[in-house]
Point group: C2
Chain length 445, copies 2
């Protein structure tokens, strides 16, 4: 069995912690068994590795998430880059082509597609063994995990199971997508399950479907012609058109943590960050800013603050957040995790942007130029190796470095390195960057 994980998401439902780049799966709002902060991606990855220590994992994602995937899942996962966002069928198909053509995986091998952001217990991943068995023995073309519903919600898709095909699996009679709550209730009474977003099949099954859509020669050919694939979900394109679908029920903790309310249920502490509360009831606070939050006499509230903004929402109403965030003016992300560390935008004006950069020891930013901006760097703490147009020099706390537009530059952190960067120019965008072959070499982390 091979695992494909899908990592996407626009992240507006957990604004302001999540944004287009920092999707909810990378927010360190959970804790691991030792009490350390943990993201959903780290949790899921750890759970899979524990259940299947030798398994190969391939993550389908876009370029903006690569640094985060590496930082949360390490170097052992394969990453398949979607050339653009086109929904789940193209992403899964591309990943299958990668396994078939680049990794020479046997066409009869079982592939399990998992979301990267399910909050579940270990038992959930154990179910994959049953699904693998169903697929290996050709009892079905497609096998799913069905979650025993804990409430009649219209948020999820429902699976109606039919007759048993083994001790713990049934055939699927029908799918009902996001029914009204009263219909959901009657479906649950008939034994319906939530669709957990897990798809298990033989590699050749999806490759065959893909070939019928598009004649392609190999992985690179498919990737180059990615925009010829319809924007369609795997559910619509494959699952709902398949006659031979099996479902294995799972009863236990499961949440897609898609709203602040569901996240609040799983938060290890009611408040985190620099926060004071007084006479608060059922109030959840996540403060990622350096300044304090005081909550006084509040009730049934979520308060979240990040460099992107501040949310104050009734817990139940928080499920309505996405359209409100959609209405915000388009803004650049104010915080990003990168392969080399992280940055926060601390101020911006019409013609300037001030960032605080933290480079981890041994890491370096790529050798690069900008066309539209000058940069002034002040080394706030640490030691580094700075390159400007091919000249290397050691830099330390208190040094000021000036990089004019067009000048090639890079810096490597000898120790953890904190830099205040002032950008000056009329166009200040992360896209204004040209990268060159590395001039200095990173140390292995």
């Amino acid at each position: 069995m091979q695992i494909i994980m899908l990592s996407g998401g626009s992240g507006k439902r957990l604004w302001p912690l999540s944004n287009d780049i920092r999707s909810k799966q990378f927010l360190k709002i959970l804790v691991d068994e030792y009490g350390n902060p943990q993201s959903m991606a780290q949790r899921v990855y750890g759970q899979i590795c524990e259940a299947y220590p030798q398994i190969n994992i391939t993550v389908a994602t876009n370029i903006s998430q690569v640094d985060s995937i590496r930082s949360h899942m390490g170097e052992n996962v394969n990453i398949v880059l979607e050339p653009e966002r086109r929904d789940t069928f193209p992403a899964i198909a591309l990943s299958c082509a990668f396994l078939a053509y680049e990794k020479n995986v046997d066409y009869n091998e079982t592939i399990a597609v998992l979301p990267v952001d399910s909050y579940t217990e270990h038992g959930f991943f154990d179910k994959l063994k049953s699904l693998d068995k169903i697929i290996s023995s050709d009892d079905a073309n497609l096998a799913l995990i069905g979650i025993k519903p804990s409430l009649a919600t219209s948020k999820y898709g429902y699976i109606i199971p039919g007759k048993k095909i083994s001790k713990d699996a049934s055939e699927v009679l029908q799918f009902v997508e996001k029914p009204e709550e009263d219909i959901a209730l009657s479906l649950i009474e008939q034994g319906a399950l939530w669709n957990g977003g897990v798809f298990v099949f033989k590699l050749k099954y999806v490759i065959d479907i893909l070939r019928r859509k598009l004649a392609f020669s190999d992985f690179n050919d498919l990737r180059n012609r990615y925009n010829e694939l319809d924007r369609i979900s795997f559910d619509y394109m494959v699952v709902e058109r398949e006659q031979r679908v099996a479902v294995v029920p799972y009863q236990g903790t499961w949440s897609d943590i898609g709203t602040w309310r569901t996240l609040a249920d799983e938060m290890p502490y009611n408040v985190s960050g620099y926060t004071k509360t007084e006479k608060t009831v059922n109030t959840y606070i996540v403060n990622e800013l350096e300044i304090p939050i005081i909550a006084l006499g509040t009730k049934d509230l979520v308060i979240a603050a990040s460099p992107d903004g501040i949310l104050v929402s009734d817990l139940v109403e928080s499920s309505q957040l996405k359209p409100v965030v959609d209405n915000l003016e388009d803004t650049r992300p104010m915080f990003e995790e990168r392969r080399w560390g992280e940055y926060t935008v601390i101020a911006k004006t019409n013609n300037s942007l001030v960032k605080q950069l933290l480079l981890y020891k041994g890491k370096a930013i790529s050798y690069q130029t900008h066309i539209h901006r000058d940069e002034i760097w002040v080394i706030v703490s640490g030691y580094g190796e700075f390159v400007l147009d091919g000249e290397v020099k050691r830099v330390k706390e208190g040094d000021t470095l000036r990089i004019n537009r067009g000048q090639k530059h890079s810096i490597k952190a000898i120790s953890d390195l904190l830099i205040t960067e002032v950008q000056i120019g009329t166009i200040l965008s992360e896209d204004d960057i040209e990268r060159y072959p590395d001039f200095i070499t990173e140390e292995a982390s």
Copy 2:
């Protein structure tokens, strides 16, 4: 008649907008008749000037508020600097000595002491004419304005009026300080009034009381011996010991805007700043940060954000804010208005502080040195004249200036000038400053 205004206040009850330096009277949360933002100090000053165009005004305050007083009230008011904070009797006494010894005001002239932060209508200041008449004609030694109470609160002091001494004035029978609400209610039924914090008397009246406490030769002598004056309020020291007190009732808008709830009542708009609301009820938002606030489904709430912090409070409970703010770790102010402009702290670490400075055209910061920090300035926009150890040079957008510890420096804004300042050092305090005679001359504003 002469006016003395008292401008003090620690500003914790309207945190995070107010702080030790930026007291509530300087917050621009009201609007003037043209819809422009207006502070309480600006409003009161404007109301007095309208009622008494030729009147002399003296403001008693401390050094940290001088820049704000000048910025909100202009150059025409006298400023009496309290050498330290010692309560209202010393502050009023010092101001009276200033008028008597420095301004040679006649000992028989009427002095009206007013708070700088009363939110009232014009009729309130018209009442001063009645009080002036009572004092001039020696009908009382002390005259007060009594506010007709709008509710039985324990927040204020109450004045119990006795027999009439003129058409609109009565003698004062008794004072009751902050009674329980049920007692307040029965007092109001007997005709009690709130003490509006206005004291009117003849100059010699207070000078005589002061002389009995301390033998002093002139204003400078008194100022040098200010710490010999007891920390005592004018109410306890003077008002409650005086037999011949008159009170003139005032019926109309009056608030000391001492809590977020009372402020909310007077806010011209429910929300200000970069804010989106959805399904909110009775929710007041003031956002001074650059990042958005989203409020979703909230009710009876005040949300306020400034560089000092974020408050989310139930409206009624907001009166309990001060002790919660007292519990915050001691922090430096993150925003200050200065004579020359304003600054915001945008980031800080153990050994660094990043500020955004805005100097108004024509203004200059004083010629100064720091012992414990280096500063790196990046001119983000505008033109200026920079002095470093006596050398003057023109600077413009994009220039980087380095000021090592011990180096004398100043800068004058030729146009409005925006500077990003990175401070590096282990002690980073506003107190680490030595000032020298100005090297460059400001232009008149």
